[in-house]
């Protein structure tokens, strides 16, 4: 079980595995909310420096990932730019593909970056959600397709 603790001038926040409690310091009131409600209310969970391994502001560190292996890193960036920039597919199409991969791979940085990029390109929430369903269907299909291996082994080994 994880415990996180965050404090600023007005609040003390403690949460564990999705349940948290926050206190208005001077009034001494305590409130219990599910994680999502609190996130909607104040956005503090991602703002508190001690809160999480994944911090939205770490996204801006992405350009620095070439550190300590500049040659390979720079080659990656060159490739990344060529692969994601407009080509025969438009920037919109490629951004939707990237967003879909990001949600299927649970990468919070890429989800943040590509949701924002899709919004910037005028892609609607409905279009993004449709793309996410393609990803979800693919993940389900990929999972079920792999039951072929499972079924083959069962059939081979069972009497």
């Amino acid at each position: 079980m994880f415990y996180y603790y965050y404090e600023d001038a007005f609040h003390q926040v403690i949460f564990k595995s999705g349940i948290y409690c926050y206190k208005l310091k001077d009034k001494g009131e305590s409130h219990h909310y599910p994680l999502a409600t609190y996130y909607d209310k104040k956005n503090y969970i991602f703002r508190g420096a001690k809160m999480n391994y994944y911090e939205p502001k770490d996204l801006v560190d992405f350009p620095n990932i070439a550190e300590w292996a500049a040659d390979q890193g720079n080659k990656f960036f060159e490739y990344y730019g060529a692969a994601t920039g407009a080509g025969k597919l438009t920037e919109r199409e490629k951004s939707l593909i990237a967003l879909t991969v990001a949600v299927t791979q649970n990468c919070p940085y890429c989800i943040d970056a590509y949701t924002t990029k899709c919004m910037s390109l005028g892609i609607s929430s409905e279009e993004m959600m449709e793309a996410a369903h393609v990803g979800a269907a693919m993940m389900a299909g990929v999972t079920l397709a792999h039951t072929t291996q499972m079924r083959k082994i069962i059939k081979k080994k069972e009497m």
Binding site: K42, K57, T90, E91, S120, L121, G122, S124
Partner: protein, 335 residues
Amino acid sequence: MDVREQLNILGRMGENPSFAGKIREINRFPLMARGIDILQINLGRRCNLSCRHCHVNAGPDRTEIMERPILEKCLQVLETFPIATIDITGGSPEMNPHLEWFITEAARLNRRLIVRSNLTLLCEESYRYFMNVFVQNKVEIVTSLPDYLASKSDRQRGQGSFGKVIAALRELNTRGYGRKDSGLVINIVHNPVGAYLPGSQAALEHEYRERLRTEHGLSFSHLFCITNLPVGRYLDYLMESGNYEDYLRTLWHSFNPDAVDHVMCRTTLSVGWDGSLYDCDFNQMLGLTVNHGAPDNIMNFDMNRLKHREIVINNHCYGCVAGSGSSCQGATTGA
């Protein structure tokens, strides 16, 4: 939020360097004007809409309206100096009772003449005649349509506004606006409906053109992408939605040094409803009049002291140099 409070918030940059510090790093400080190619005249803060992103904080209850003596002085300045572009903005310029007269006088000067209209008023019987005024004087219209989806656009500008813009655009199209070879130009402004930056202007223009053509049978001249600057009602929105810090960080991380040379204040002078002079419409809404010794009211206009004035900057300026850069004419570097 009053001006002092806005400047207070803008002053808090956290770990990010100030705009002044940032341009000093690249040897662009102080930022100097290059001349006055555009006179942008803000006819007042009254508007029939109250858009959520409005840096002017305009609305139906605002009373500030530019009076005739100031407009006459603007004309005199324009007659005297070869300023290439006259850019009329507001509020709703149509709600200033002197607009028709001013357009007619300004058109005689043979300059590029722009009116920034939200178009929604043109659907009302008492304002319809402005369509004729615009056509007869070959006014270049700039109008805002934050998204090609009605629901999204209306979230920013108010229920039903999208439909009115579409209806007005349709009529303007039939009068020649946005049609090739008609000489009548109507440009659309896209600005993000939320706390993010606009994407590529070319890609968005392509998308707008396709959507407006196929879904509404409409055409337009060009699309301008304008970044929302953290000023006025948009700053309120950023604060209330808890997006301010992230947005400022995004602006800062999208800092484009090439865009610094192309900020619009280097070639624009902005006139407020009471004749006060500003480096741009954003500075106008922050009460930051031209400074560093230049005369700060059009009644004391002095070209020599204004054309190479030092520009008054603050942290909202990050918005003009993020990504592809942003100005009243859209992106400022390769979009």
